[in-house]
């Protein structure tokens, strides 16, 4: 299994920027995800690694070997396309065997490997089927088998679940993760779905407008977003502007308007934030961090919207100038309705400080 390094890679399309100065190291055997909204440059980055695009600037290394100018067919990669790109005129067997035939394996070896791959993706006995006779989920597994059977150094997945319906998507997600763990293959996964990214990845790279926003483990990205974009793209959050009132070695106190003060932990702040210089900051408070009842950082508000989902109760609460999303885990609690007043409190560890600059 190979590691991948992108050394300050920039890709221009004419005058518009595809990706700008992407500099990452993906470790051998790692499950690494490019996450971002459509048009953020994640697929462009993946295609640079696959060799379908040549970077305008920068280099691509596989295990320290410069592959920047190497053609896609010489890279020994396995790629799964968003629409699967199965060969419509071939059977399941012929599709999976394609890469092995290119590599001029013997008939016996091909048969052996293809059958093993079919078993691996649970498509035994489907070898003679035409592609058009398969369901979406089965087509997806053929695409996966076709990419894996050539024993690639790196597996590239371009939004592989986006064409499946919700239930199948969950199943296939687990399946992909299982295959990846069993084979220990370096995997790069492109998605715009944060749940997929969080559930599957060792590390995530969040991108926006062609630039890296943050690289980190799912916990880091979720709990310690570096900026407004990451905080609001990953999960739900309340973004509040605040003035810094008091800074100590361990605690920060801010005013969120009308004299309402909130105190949080200094360690819960983005590394880019400098309290010595910036007097205005942005708070990110996750809905599930806000609790009902009395406690530290108390707030009072009126319920605007109330939503019972079974597992939790979601409120939209108007507190002062702010509309706060609040999520309370259902423990047999009474569900309040629109217009009721509610007392809330936020633990110190539930407040996250970010720089106002993007």
């Amino acid at each position: 299994m190979k590691s991948v390094r992108l050394d300050h890679v920039t890709k221009m399309f004419g005058k518009s920027i595809g990706v700008h100065d992407v500099d990452i190291q993906i470790n051998s055997g790692e499950f690494f995800t490019f996450l971002g909204p459509s048009g953020c440059g994640k697929t462009t980055t993946l295609r640079i690694i696959a060799g379908f695009y040549f970077p305008t600037k920068g280099k691509v290394y596989f295990d320290g070997d410069d592959v920047t100018g190497l053609k896609p067919n010489k890279r020994n990669i396995g790629m799964v396309f968003q629409n699967y790109a199965l060969f419509p005129h071939m059977t399941v067997f012929e599709n999976i065997a394609f890469g092995l035939e290119v590599r001029k394996l013997s008939k016996r070896e091909i048969k052996e490997k293809v059958e093993r791959a079919q078993k691996f993706v649970r498509l035994e006995g489907y070898g003679d089927r035409k592609i058009t006779e398969l369901s979406g989920g089965q087509q997806q597994r053929v695409a996966l088998a076709r990419a894996l059977v050539i024993e690639p150094d790196i597996l590239l997945l371009d939004e592989p679940l986006s064409n499946l319906d919700a239930k199948l998507r969950d199943e296939t997600r687990v399946e992909i993760k299982r295959l990846q763990v069993e084979l220990g293959i370096t995997t790069i996964y492109v998605t715009h779905d944060q749940h997929e990214a969080m559930a599957m990845s060792d590390r995530i790279m969040v991108m926006n407008q062609g630039k890296i926003q943050q690289i980190g483990t799912p916990q880091e990205i979720y709990n310690k977003p570096v900026n407004h974009f990451v905080a609001s793209f990953i999960g739900e959050t309340n973004i509040i502007k605040a003035d810094v009132i008091k800074v100590t070695d361990t605690h920060i106190t801010v005013d969120i308007g009308q004299g309402t003060l909130l105190t949080g932990l200094r360690e819960n702040s983005s590394p880019q934030l400098d309290f010595e210089k910036e007097k205005q900051v942005i708070l990110s408070i996750r809905p599930e961090m806000i609790n009902a009842g009395e406690g530290t950082n108390p707030l009072e508000g009126i319920i605007q919207l109330s939503e019972f989902t079974g597992m939790s109760i979601n409120y939209l609460v108007k507190a002062g100038d702010h509309e706060l999303k609040v999520m309370i885990v259902n423990a047999g609690t009474e569900v309040l309705g629109r217009g009721d007043s509610i007392k809330l409190h936020i633990p110190e560890s539930g407040i996250y400080f970010m720089s106002e600059k993007r």
Binding site: G69, P72, I77, F81, A85, L86, P88, H89, V102, T132
Partner: protein
């Protein structure tokens, strides 16, 4: 950057640099441009040059001056335009009327009529004109029949002259209107009409404000097409002896040895055709009235009154008979003994000999063999050029792409007469493009003419298949380690095969039935099938001529059916892949 492996790597880098350069695509398309230049632009230019340069090579507009001051020429131009305009109107009335009748109403005989309505497309160009003169001409079956029934001195009516041409045009070209209007009507979203009704509009308003505007794009496109084909029409004027139309004027100038005037007339006709081609391309690119909702069933109004039902059934039967008569009369006469049919209504003596002779007599077999050989050579060229050009146009981005697209379509827009005149101007002396040979008078000029005339067929069909194919399929093959050539051979080619095959079959059968260019280019040793038909007609050997005609018609029908099958199969795979 440090380069550890030295020389071979830097050599590889140079190759990469070249292939990755944005100018490399021009190296790839240069052979295609060369072919277009050699066999389309250069001949076109040679004809143009002949019309504007005199013997000493000095620029002169004398030819054009004399064209526009000679009454015969002006009359030819006027007649061509007049015939074309009237043909557009009559084809539109018949085609659109049929389309509405068959798509919007349910009546006895609708199904059978909707099968036979496309029969005229199966008629080879020359056969269409010949059958009409057999049926409705001065000594045709029907005029004589009426003369006999009513015991008249003379035939009561006859299809001849300019109106004869228009009748033949209407019969052979209304399917263009029928097809596009049918597609447009089927695409008409019924909910639009329902919406208009719910807003208080009556039938007339709906027609005026909704249906007609939505049909306009299809009508304009078909009108341009029919106008162009009518301008290029040669067989109908030839059959009805109308000499004052542009195509006939060109051939007459040539026979009279006035080559400069022929070149001038050709150039003027080319300009009209190319102008119409550009107009059509421009119009098709901007039209877009696609229906928004999908899968709306076509709504048919059922005819209820039993009297109208009865009339509809009778009229449908007559319609089917009229549509089938041309093929039936050709089939009938193919069994008639040559020279025995003079003043009788229909031939009296019949024989199977013509069909036996087709394949046993070397004189009758000759033209068939020639046509098959020449079509095969032309088609091989069409496949190589068409597939390469389609691939380049779909996959590559380069400057001048729009221009090249039009250039490939030019041979299709040029009248066959003009293509022939151009090739004669270009290749009656040795040139680089003919490998320093004189081509005129040889075998090779005919396949070349067929190649040029059918240039767009394989190209268009292949292009359509390629556009449907997803880019990522090729990338998937590459990611699995396949080289470009391997993935083209194993993946791209099999997928676009139906498109190539459809285009190839059409090109082949068009080669077998080509007449207009052939008549100007053939020599006695290289006489093709259609010219054979014409010469037999001329020698009053109607039986043999019609046996040839039946052969051509059968071939066309077979190809159309096979293509329908191919289309159906490939749509099936394409649709379910989504």
């Amino acid at each position: 950057m440090t380069n550890s492996s030295g020389a071979p790597a830097s050599k590889q880098n140079a190759w990469q640099k070249m292939t990755q350069s944005k100018y490399f695509v021009y190296v790839l398309i240069s052979p295609l441009v060369l072919v277009l230049f050699a066999y389309v632009i250069y001949p076109l230019y040679k004809t143009f040059a002949q019309s504007v340069f005199d013997q000493e090579g000095a620029l002169t507009f004398g030819n054009y001056l004399s064209f526009f001051t000679t009454e015969a020429n002006l009359e030819s131009l006027f007649n061509s335009v007049f015939i074309s305009i009237v043909s557009v109107i009559t084809c539109a009335i018949v085609g659109v009327g049929m389309a509405f009748l068959l798509n919007r109403y349910e009546f006895p005989g609708r199904k059978i009529l909707s099968v036979f309505v496309l029969v005229p497309m199966a008629l080879p160009p020359l056969i269409g004109a010949i059958s009409f003169s057999f049926l409705y001409g001065n000594s045709g079956i029907f005029p004589r029949l009426f003369q006999y029934i009513f015991q008249l001195e003379d035939v009561p009516f006859a299809v001849e002259g300019i109106w004869g041409i228009i009748v033949v045009h209407t019969f052979t070209m209304y399917p263009y209107f029928y097809l596009s209007a049918s597609a447009a009507i089927r695409g008409l979203d019924l909910s639009l009409e329902e919406a208009a009704t719910s807003l208080g509009a009556n039938r007339v308003t709906i027609w005026r404000k909704i249906i007609l505007p939505m049909l306009t794009p299809a009508m304009v496109a078909s009108s341009l097409l029919v106008f162009m084909i009518s301008m290029a029409s040669y067989t109908a004027p030839l059959m009805f002896g109308v000499e004052r139309v542009m195509t006939m004027a060109i051939t007459l100038s040539r026979t009279n040895g006035n080559l400069d005037m022929a070149a001038t007339q050709s150039t003027i006709l080319s300009m009209v055709s190319i102008a119409f081609l550009i107009l059509m391309t421009w119009y098709q690119n901007r039209r877009n009235y696609q229906s928004q909702s999908k899968g709306v069933g076509v709504h048919r109004t059922e005819v209820r009154s039993s009297r109208i039902k009865y009339i509809a059934a009778v009229l449908s039967t007559i319609g089917v008979i009229i549509l089938m008569l041309p093929i039936m009369v050709i089939a009938l006469i193919s069994f008639a003994v040559d020279g025995e049919w003079t003043t009788q209504i229909i031939p009296t003596k019949y024989t199977l000999d013509h069909y036996i002779e087709l394949f046993t007599d070397s004189r009758t077999w000759g033209p068939i063999k020639n046509s098959i050989q020449m079509s095969i050579f032309a088609v091989i060229g069409n496949i190589i050029f068409g597939v390469a050009a389609a691939y380049a146009m779909v996959r590559f981005q380069f400057k001048g792409k729009v221009f090249m697209d039009i250039l490939i379509m030019v041979p299709w827009a040029l009248p066959g007469t003009v293509v022939a005149v151009n090739l004669i101007s270009a290749f009656s002396e040795p040139s680089v493009f003919s490998l320093n040979q004189v081509l005129v008078g040889t075998f090779w000029i005919l396949p070349l003419a067929y190649f040029v005339r059918q240039l767009p067929l394989v190209f268009r069909n292949t292009q359509a298949s390629l556009i449907q194919m997803d880019d990522s399929i090729e990338e998937a093959a590459q990611s699995l380690g396949a080289t470009w050539w391997y993935s083209f051979r194993r993946v791209v080619f099999p997928i676009i095969m139906p498109g190539i095959l459809a285009g190839t079959l059409l090109a082949f059968v068009q080669g077998l039935t080509e007449f207009v260019a052939s008549i100007l280019l053939y020599s006695p040793q290289t006489m093709p099938l259609s010219v054979g038909i014409w010469n037999r007609m001329y020698a009053f050997q109607f039986g043999t001529a019609c046996a040839y005609g039946v052969l051509q018609t059968v071939l066309i029908i077979v190809v159309l059916l096979v293509n329908e099958k191919i289309k159906g199969d490939s749509n099936q795979t394409g649709a379910s892949l989504g």
